[in-house]
């Protein structure tokens, strides 16, 4: 399928998805649960651009995600601050603007991480990203303007654009972000950029020697991955209405965004989507029916089982079966 056709198809699917749910689903819980699953589609697709395509493991998803969320919190408080400090009155910042700003700031953080890849490969890069997320968390904990470790309450605007309640609005935005990230991932895959990234993943030295501009490509990958994670985090303050460092930097985001692509399959755009829908739905069901601690245990155990038994994920399993079927028939 050509890229332009693919974009048209997924945008149509996105719109149809939102319209159908708005027409037939009135239960608010569906939107709350659906938002989380969609958010994981964005996060795991973003992670996969760096982890799956380029071969750099990022354990710091929480940092990028939370930076997006906290940039929204700052923008939310901005009118109030300007009013009290400079007697300026500005309109509240709309959420789509916050998403763009959150994406820009997390993208910058991603660019910084990209320069780390100059020195750090493999395990060292992974540990550095883990360290990065703790450093960023410490900064936020000590930053009083956004509530420090106590957290900050965010009051949703009374009116939601596009009709319906505010949660429906958040759901629509997250669907749009999912479409955007899946579209980007798929466009990268077949492009020169994607081939370059795959060359880096397979053998960075050989790629460099064959004239692949490795640093530039890695910087593009880290920036793009970071920006998408930040965009996924930007609506979070309005979703939870109470933002605190412990939950916004939760290790669960990092584990999930690693586990979903690994379980789905890392070499193709569809892998993270399958992983996110599968794991995200299981977790939502387990949270409601069993307990929220147990659903995290499920993710951990599935992650371990899959890396041992099926290192190429569900996509790899299906490809294996298909190959076998074709050679038999």
């Amino acid at each position: 399928m050509r890229n332009s056709v693919f974009w048209l198809v997924i945008v149509a699917v996105g719109i149809a998805f939102v319209v159908v749910s708005r027409l037939y689903l009135t239960n608010e819980y569906f939107y709350f649960a659906g938002y989380v699953v969609l958010q994981y589609i964005v996060l795991s697709t973003a992670w996969n651009i760096l982890g799956g395509y380029t071969g750099y493991t990022n354990f710091g998803t929480g940092a990028f995600f939370a930076v997006g969320a906290y940039s929204s919190a700052v923008l939310h408080k901005l009118p109030q601050l300007l009013h009290s400090a400079f007697d300026l009155t500005i309109i509240p910042v709309p959420l789509p603007v916050m998403i763009v700003v959150g994406g820009l700031i997390s993208g910058l953080l991603g660019l910084g991480t990209g320069y780390l890849t100059l020195r750090l490969r493999g395990v060292f890069f992974a540990i550095a990203t883990l360290a990065l997320s703790i450093v960023v968390q410490t900064l936020i904990v000590n930053w009083d303007f956004v509530g420090g470790s106590r957290g900050i309450y965010i009051i949703r605007p009374a009116m939601a654009p596009l009709g319906g309640g505010y949660i429906e609005y958040l759901f629509t935005l997250m669907t749009a972000l999912s479409v955007l990230s899946v579209g980007i991932a798929r466009s990268i895959e077949g492009s020169r950029l994607g081939l370059g990234l795959a060359a880096i993943r397979d053998d960075e030295l050989a790629a460099e020697a064959s004239g692949v501009p490795t640093l530039r490509l890695k910087l593009i990958a880290t920036t793009m991955s970071g920006a998408l994670m930040g965009m996924a985090g930007a609506p979070l303050p309005y979703y939870v209405t109470y933002l605190d460092p412990a939950s916004s930097f939760n290790l669960a985001y990092a584990v999930n965004s690693v586990a979903m692509p690994v379980i789905g399959g890392m070499t193709s755009w569809i892998g993270p989507v399958i992983g996110a829908i599968l794991l995200g739905t299981i977790q939502q069901l387990a949270t409601v029916t069993i307990s929220s601690a147990l659903n995290l245990l499920i993710v951990g155990v599935l992650l371990i089982l899959f890396v041992i038994i099926a290192p190429n994920g569900i996509v790899g399993l299906v490809q294996g079966w298909r190959r076998k079927w074709e050679s038999d028939g």
Binding site: G122, V255, I304, P311
Partner: protein
């Protein structure tokens, strides 16, 4: 000024004691990551397992935590060997250890933490022992026993391990496998068996380190994460394979953290070790005593 310098002196001494404890926590990773090239980021989960083992025996049998830690080492050794077996068959043998292997240990860390939450809840747990509380006073210097004892025992443990690695046959084989596995094979020793023993030792140290941890501070399942950065910072800063280097790095990070906590507040302390790690990785990946 006198108060300030007294505070500084106490902060430095507290930091050295803390550093001694950090050495016990990091020695396992220096063996597994530094020597065997296995990035065991789930080490903190095993340390917490050690803490909770000490907590249980202390609660039900009133046993001394440090004693429990030492008694538990064989069990942890066997556990470590089992984990290495699994790791070997699933990843090392196939040759793809990079992302999958890391994801495996990441999953293990998470499963360990969540299991502890499910069993013990998220309340802080602590142990009772005669040396928790009192301090030795020497002029303006204060030596809390609950810091001093872990530090002393930790130095003994690191010393014994260093002795074992440099003197015994298996210890030397472990050092050899870290340099050249194939050459070791040509000397008729199995690298896999040697690595299995070494990984077992690295997990066995968690039993002791975990008992120190619960003496020093109350423990809840998620504090393990704070130690990932510290452990790897110390390991990398110390030059990966060198025990003396690891010890110096542990002391250094302990002192810097303690000074930060005293003068800027404890909430800034975690950033110190992670900042150290990021800077070390970016500027001098070979560490202080690197080859």
């Amino acid at each position: 000024m006198i108060i300030q310098s007294g505070l500084l002196l106490n902060a430095i001494i507290a930091g050295i004691l803390l550093g001694g404890f950090y050495a016990a926590v990091s020695v396992g990773v220096t063996i597994s990551f530094g020597m065997l090239d296995i990035a065991n980021i789930s080490q903190p989960a095993f340390i917490l397992l050690g803490s909770y083992a000490a907590y249980m025996t202390n609660l039900y049998f009133g046993l001394d935590p440090i004693l429990t830690g030492i008694v538990m080492t064989p069990a942890f050794f066997v556990l470590g060997m089992a984990v290495y077996r699994l790791y070997y068959f699933a990843f090392e043998r196939r040759g793809d250890q990079a992302i999958q292997g890391l994801a495996f240990f990441f999953g293990l860390l998470f499963v360990g933490e969540v299991s502890l939450v499910l069993i013990f809840g998220v309340d802080y747990r602590f142990v009772a022992a005669s040396y928790i509380g009192p301090s030795i006073h020497m002029g303006i210097v204060e030596l809390p026993l609950r810091m001093l004892l872990p530090c002393v025992f930790s130095l003994i443990m690191v010393g014994l391990l260093q002795l074992y690695l440099s003197r015994s046959f298996i210890g030397r084989a472990i050092l050899a496998v870290s340099q050249d596995g194939l050459a070791l094979q040509l000397m008729a020793a199995s690298p896999i068996k040697i690595k299995q023993i070494a990984f077992g030792i690295s997990i066995a140290t968690c039993a002791v380190a975990g008992s120190f941890l619960i003496i020093i501070q109350p423990v809840e399942p998620s504090i393990g994460r704070d130690y990932i950065g510290r452990i790897f910072a110390i390991c990398v800063l110390g030059g990966m394979t060198s025990m003396p280097g690891m010890l110096i790095a542990a002391m250094l990070i302990g002192v810097v953290e303690s000074i930060t906590a005293t003068f800027y507040g404890p909430s800034w302390a975690p950033a110190v070790s992670f900042g150290f790690l990021l800077v070390t990785l970016a500027v001098r990946p070979a560490g202080l005593m690197g080859r």
